[in-house]
């Protein structure tokens, strides 16, 4: 009778409970570490910082400049930062949103800013030029194409996110 009752010996019981408690403690330490380690992955999966910029119906084939203001929180203070984009529809009716920041020294470029080149972006600082798709015109100061904005269209509104490198290789209007 007593034999049957003691299926778990005192030693076994202590072993089991120590393993259990130890395992629980290890897990509670490791779980946050894993969470921290893969945090960037989780971030990317979540929604990015997209900002409503303009109604899609306002976008034409001619590039137009749109500004929007973002509240930027730095470590010490909060400030409103204005961003701009040149937005147009290309011949395939696809939206193109170019960053206005010149790849030379960071001035803001203007569409048709130079009357001599009405089909190009023009940087007023050092006469840099770009074709409509953002590619830099050879023999002008910039050495890379204008960056593109990541964008999405939701309910007829264009949302712009981060800038990414522009993959264009060939110029053209």
């Amino acid at each position: 009778m007593s034999e049957k009752k003691q299926q778990v010996s005192r030693r076994q019981f202590l072993n089991y409970s120590l393993t259990g408690v130890g395992g629980f403690m290890a897990a509670s330490m490791l779980a946050p570490m894993v969470r921290f380690a893969i945090d960037p992955v989780l971030q990317a999966a979540g929604g990015e910082d997209m900002h409503a910029v303009v109604d899609v119906s306002e976008i034409t084939e001619e590039p137009q400049r749109f500004d929007w203001t973002v509240e930027q929180v730095d470590a010490w203070y909060t400030s409103d930062v204005t961003h701009s984009a040149w937005v147009y529809k290309d011949e395939n009716d696809e939206i193109v949103a170019l960053s206005p920041t010149c790849k030379h020294l960071g001035c803001a470029v203007n569409w048709a800013g130079n009357p001599d080149y009405p089909d190009q972006f023009f940087c007023p600082c050092h006469d840099g030029r770009y074709y409509k798709n953002g590619l830099n015109v050879p023999d002008t100061p910039p050495n890379a194409a204008l960056d593109l904005f990541e964008f999405e269209v939701k309910d007829g509104t264009l949302y712009l996110g981060n800038v990414k490198e522009n993959p264009v290789q060939e110029g053209g209007a």
């Binding site: 030379h104 960071g106 001035c107 803001a108 940087c123 600082c125």
Partner: protein, 152 residues
């Protein structure tokens, strides 16, 4: 370019391209509440205009921290100090120096100044977020940059 670590590193790499210095002139006056408030508001809008100017012409304009002075100053001696400032800063870097101000007293003493004075007429702005204000600031920036570009 601004007076910031990252911008200055770039500035010293590409010095030959950045030939224009802009200095906002900011007066202080605490004698009466209404004047102080007015000047503080002008400070805000002048900062916004200079920030926008810098944002559009980052690669050619260096925006200096504001030159701050007491408004009841003697403008003749103040001009001498300001000239000293600009001559020290311009030291073989800047071909063009522009002073941005709302203070009409500088306009009256313009002949004493070594640099180009851009005097703007002030307006009181209640809300910086309205479309009208943004339009007004854009218009100011466009006109100032047109003037500056005529010097380039």
């Amino acid at each position: 370019m601004r007076w910031k670590k990252k911008d200055l590193e770039m500035f010293f790499q590409s010095k030959e391209f950045i030939d224009t210095l802009c200095i906002p002139l900011i007066p202080l006056d605490l004698q009466t509440e209404s004047e102080a408030i007015k000047l503080a508001d002008q400070n805000t809008s002048l900062q916004i205009i200079s920030d926008e100017l810098e944002r559009n012409y980052t690669g050619r304009i260096m925006l200096s921290p504001a030159y701050t002075y007491i408004r009841s100053t003697n403008y003749e001696s103040e001009s001498a100090i300001l000239n000293q400032w600009t001559s020290m800063l311009s030291y073989d870097h800047f071909k063009h120096i522009f002073l941005l101000t709302y203070d009409v007293n500088w306009k009256k003493h313009e002949r004493l100044l070594d640099s180009n004075l851009i005097w703007l007429t002030a307006t009181t702005i209640d809300d910086y977020q309205t479309d009208q204000t943004k339009k007004w600031i854009n218009e100011q920036v466009t006109q100032i940059s047109e003037l500056i570009r005529s010097f380039w």
